[in-house]
């Protein structure tokens, strides 16, 4: 018995890899491989799309439109993130359980708020968007709330983990000096957690921009909406122009957050 478990210990990585490969092969059987996989004329479309990649439409009119749409996407993402940060700090602090006095109430607030945060992030932002559009109509708020809820859930959970991971010695020093729970939070936990929190928020901000692009699918404006319109017109040259604007936006934010994260570590 011991021998078997020992040999399992050695080979468990190989077994896991094999299992994953088997799962992938199993998934391949779901597709009916054959010529009917591709549209008639699909190959020609592919060639056309690929060719127009090198000839994006760059008239001033399109660029103007793209700039406004990019800004709209960015502003929805920023607005959604502001709400998400507020939600995340409130729920994250409660989910970390540092405010609770007794062991029992600590467990309770941890359990309840971690559960809420888990539910918020389990559902994709586009589904939230659709549910909001169905209930409050086509306003930018639908996009903003739809971004704020899942991102609040993700950020809140990470904030709670960061707060729980701060070194305990300074907190104990404050506590023995007679600080209250609230003072412990503001002078102990939050200042120590701040740089990690900012760097994770920046990372998520980049994701939020991408999500905000996708919001257009349920009818909310932005660069995604322009891409969709151009695609429906079969105007691939325009599609790539908008795509390039989106890529530039994402890359710029990526650069910003990379530099900021490096400075915060120093």
């Amino acid at each position: 018995m011991n021998k078997i478990s020992h040999s399992f210990d050695i080979h468990k990585k190989t077994i896991l890899t094999l299992l994953l490969i088997l799962a992938f092969i199993w998934s391949l059987f779901s597709v009916n491989w054959g010529p009917e996989l591709v549209h008639t004329g699909g190959k020609a479309t592919l060639a056309q799309i690929f060719e127009s990649l090198f000839h994006p439409q760059l008239s001033s009119e399109i660029i103007n439109l793209a700039l406004i749409a990019t800004w709209r996407t960015l502003s929805y993402a920023v607005a959604g993130m502001t709400l998400a940060i507020i939600i995340a700090i409130l729920f994250g602090v409660l989910a970390s359980g540092v405010l609770a006095k007794s062991e029992l109430s600590r467990r309770f607030s941890k359990g309840v708020f971690r559960g809420i945060l888990g539910f918020m992030r389990a559902i994709h932002e586009l589904i939230w968007a659709w549910l909001f559009v169905a209930s409050i109509g086509l306003t930018p708020y639908a996009a903003i709330f739809a971004l704020a809820i899942p991102y609040g859930g993700i950020l809140g959970r990470i904030f709670a983990d960061i707060i729980n991971d701060v070194p305990k010695e300074p907190i104990e020093a404050l506590y023995s000096a007679g600080a209250s729970r609230i003072q412990l939070l503001f002078y102990g936990y939050l200042p120590m957690a701040a740089s990690d929190m900012i760097s994770y928020t920046m990372y998520r901000f980049e994701c939020a921009v991408r999500s905000s692009t996708v919001m257009s699918f349920v009818g909310l404006g932005g660069i995604g909406f322009q891409i969709q319109l151009a695609l429906q017109d079969l105007n691939y040259n325009q599609v790539w122009t908008y795509m390039f604007f989106l890529i530039i936006l994402v890359v710029l934010i990526d650069l910003w957050s990379n530099i900021l994260r490096k400075r915060l570590v120093e």
Partner: protein, 286 residues
């Protein structure tokens, strides 16, 4: 004689962190102003009677109130949705598989220390070109959301599981490639120097030195991405790429809100399952 006191000169130093916070505040104010002024989003207008009516109707529909047989009590629709759930699972596994294959084929030249020739101890002139080229492809595929990829791919392939998996794979290929290239950049160089001093060729160094060191981390990242992919499978279905998402869209368009609830239940179940499986597998691999 009076002694002169030397005061340290106050020098303005550019502080990137403070500068970033300033930009962030400006961005936040500008965005909210834009939404409020240009898009004329009226916050008070959210709480009109009309909205309350629709929200109530929607919520009632979701809980199946006033419907004879809500979809979540109907065996036939359960069967249908469970079959779609199974398909969605297959789609996510396929997407993760394609992304991993693409990553494994390209990741080695995409690491900076390979391009510099530190890792394989062989300098080639084309390494830097290959490095730049693959990194640009990573950025390109990563910056475009999976739904937009799906919108384009649906022009080429017929609706079904495959185009959805492909769209998810393209987007995740960029992310997983970047993460795994960073893993290679962080590998310990000592075992590799040891191999090299024993006379191993660059291919042998790759197989016996680099691969064993990075594979566990690769597996962790692949599993983590698979978890994310499961969450997004429903989204690529919206544009006709099969799975739960397509049914969700149809149910929404036909105002069959109780079916929406059923689909969401299955979806949440799938997400929870993915969490448990990937957690277990990660424990096994570490």
């Amino acid at each position: 004689m009076k002694k002169k006191i030397l005061l340290p000169k106050l020098k303005y130093k550019f502080n990137f962190v403070n500068f970033s916070i300033l930009i962030a505040i400006v961005l936040i104010i500008a965005s909210w102003m834009f939404i409020y002024k240009v898009d004329k989003a009226d916050f008070g207008g959210l709480f009109t009677e009309k909205n309350a009516f629709y929200a109530k109707k929607f919520l009632k529909g979701m809980f199946g109130i006033g419907e004879e047989t809500p979809a979540f009590k109907d065996a036939e629709s359960w069967k249908n949705v469970l079959k779609l759930t199974y398909e969605t699972l297959q789609m996510s596994v396929m997407a993760a598989g394609f992304a991993s294959i693409g990553m494994l084929l390209t990741v080695i030249p995409a690491a900076r220390n390979v391009a510099e020739g530190k890792l394989t101890l062989s300098k080639k002139w084309y390494n830097w070109i290959l490095f730049g080229f693959i990194r640009v492809i990573y950025i390109f595929s990563r910056s475009v959301p999976e739904l937009v990829w799906a919108m384009i791919i649906i022009f080429i392939f017929k609706p079904g599981i495959f185009p959805g998996a492909l769209a998810l794979a393209i987007h995740n290929f960029g992310i997983i490639g970047k993460l795994c290239a960073e893993v290679i950049e962080d590998t310990d160089l000592r075992p590799i120097r040891n191999l090299a001093s024993c006379g191993a060729s660059s291919g042998q160094i790759l197989i016996y030195g680099v691969m064993p060191a990075v594979m566990p981390k690769f597996l962790t990242y692949i599993l983590y991405r698979w978890e994310v992919i499961i969450r997004t499978t429903i989204v690529v279905g919206f544009v006709g790429a099969g799975g739960l998402g397509m049914d969700f869209k149809l149910a929404m368009s036909y105002f069959k809100y109780s079916e929406v609830t059923l689909i969401l239940i299955c979806y949440l179940f799938l997400v929870a399952l993915a969490d448990i499986v990937s957690e277990g597998a990660r424990k096994l691999s570490s």
